[in-house]
């Protein structure tokens, strides 16, 4: 094992010899060590061993993410209150908003399931939007990052697998077919808002380069 001093790799550790620690990047998935070099805008630096994307800067990413996140915040809030899906059969009808869907398990004493569904389709996505907004707002305008920015961005990354809006959107399509012979289903305005929201979320994630964000948070006060 190579001897290491606290700030520099010493001679004899191959191509990385003499590199400062802050200039190195280690693949979080496989631990391979590289000299970090910022690729050109739109290019991606990929781990040679496991092909994990390490750095993927996009031009004007910060401001785009802020705008898209703001649009999503508005959409999700609006989508909560408008009717989401409607149903009619034999002269009877019912409408359900996103909140009704999220809380539908309540009626049958399945409160745990109700809370979980509400969390995965509304609360976690909403929380992630707020956290990203909080993290990036000062950075984009070249100000000092907020004091809790690191924690906020760490949480936003950790919550990512639990935000399941896109899975819920596909679930609507399945539900539609499942009751097709039982009743007529119609889409309310909230359904379309929600669909747009899912598309924006996917676009937004493609702009977010985690490494670039961490780099910009380095200036944050501790």
């Amino acid at each position: 094992m190579n001897q290491i001093d606290s700030t520099r790799l010493q001679q004899g550790s191959g191509p990385l010899a003499g590199a400062r620690l802050e200039d190195l990047i280690a693949c979080p998935s496989c631990d391979a060590l590289y000299l970090a070099r910022m690729p050109a805008m739109g290019e991606r630096a990929v781990c040679a061993d496991c092909h994990e994307v390490l750095i993927a800067p996009r031009a004007k990413a910060g401001i785009r993410i802020l705008m898209l996140t703001l649009a999503m915040l508005i959409l999700v809030t609006a989508a909560l209150f408008f009717p989401f899906l409607s149903i009619s059969a034999a002269g009877l009808g019912n409408r359900a908003s996103l909140l009704d869907v999220a809380l539908s398990f309540q009626s049958s004493h399945m409160v745990a399931l109700a809370l979980m569904t509400a969390a995965m389709i509304v609360i976690v996505p909403l929380l992630r939007m707020l956290l990203i907004f909080y993290t990036l707002l000062p950075v984009v305008f070249d100000r000092q990052p907020f004091s809790q920015a690191r924690r906020a961005f760490r949480w936003s990354n950790a919550l990512k697998p639990w935000a399941m809006a896109e899975i819920f959107a596909l679930g609507c399509a399945v539900a539609l077919v499942k009751v097709a012979d039982l009743a007529q289903i119609g889409f309310g305005p909230a359904f379309w808002m929600f669909s747009i929201l899912v598309l924006i979320a996917i676009l937004n994630d493609s702009y977010l380069c985690s490494w670039s964000v961490w780099k910009s948070l380095e200036k944050a006060p501790r």
Binding site: I4, S13, C27, A32, L54, F105, T117, G171, A180, L217
Partner: protein, 214 residues
């Protein structure tokens, strides 16, 4: 673009460093916390496999009742009907919607089973080694991580239907107990996959690669 590097890979650990899995910064080995993002640092998560197996077992245990009990209870004027996951998919196929039946079967049966097998294999091979190259095993891990969440689709379908189909006596849909255990199984399996330290896939092969040269 790949980051260029010659020869066998140097890992952060082999260079006497510890890598932050949250922000990819490296620190001298033994540093407890990342100075950039504040995450807890560990060169390898030594308790990783134990956590993987604990969540894995919980996931399998919850998956069994999820298949035995009804997922969806439908009450119409003429009948009271409770259907299990597989039963529901078969009914949909009988109505001619083969595509949707396939989605449900893939999301609720094929993916969970495949995940159990894949995670078990990854955990076993991290400990005992495997002839399959680490690159391919890593790819399997990524697929498991990506696809696991999609099993939640059936739970969401039950939620949508229970909220919507409330037409007094004409038609009423309520969730069955399997909705809860199935959701639990998906969550436990996600936690199992997340507990796995994917760097363990690579260690054994890289050590073999380095040994002849030194």
């Amino acid at each position: 673009m790949e980051i260029a590097r010659k020869g066998p890979s140097l890992t952060a650990r082999a260079a006497g460093l510890v890598a932050c899995r949250t922000c990819a910064r490296v620190w001298p080995a033994g540093t407890p916390r990342c100075g950039r993002c504040g995450a807890h640092l560990q060169s390898r998560d030594t308790a990783s496999l134990q956590k993987v197996w604990a969540w894995w077992l919980a996931g399998v245990m919850a998956y069994i009742p999820a298949n035995l009990y009804p997922m969806l209870v439908t009450d119409t004027l003429v009948e009271h009907h409770a259907s299990t996951i597989v039963g529901g998919a078969v009914e949909i196929a009988h109505h001619g919607s083969y595509g949707i039946a396939a989605i449900i079967l893939i999301a609720s049966v094929l993916i969970p089973m495949g995940k159990f097998i894949a995670i078990a294999y990854l955990a076993l091979s991290a400990r005992h080694g495997s002839r399959v190259r680490p690159g391919r095993r890593h790819h399997l891990y990524e697929v498991v991580e990506f696809i696991g969440r999609w099993s939640m689709i059936d739970v969401f379908v039950v939620a949508i239907l229970s909220a919507l189909v409330q037409l007094s006596s004409v038609a009423q849909i309520t969730p069955g107990p399997a909705a809860l255990t199935f959701a639990a199984s998906v969550i436990f399996t996600m936690l199992s996959a997340q507990s796995f330290d994917s760097r363990l896939i690579w260690d054994r092969d890289r050590a073999d690669e380095r040994r002849p040269s030194t």
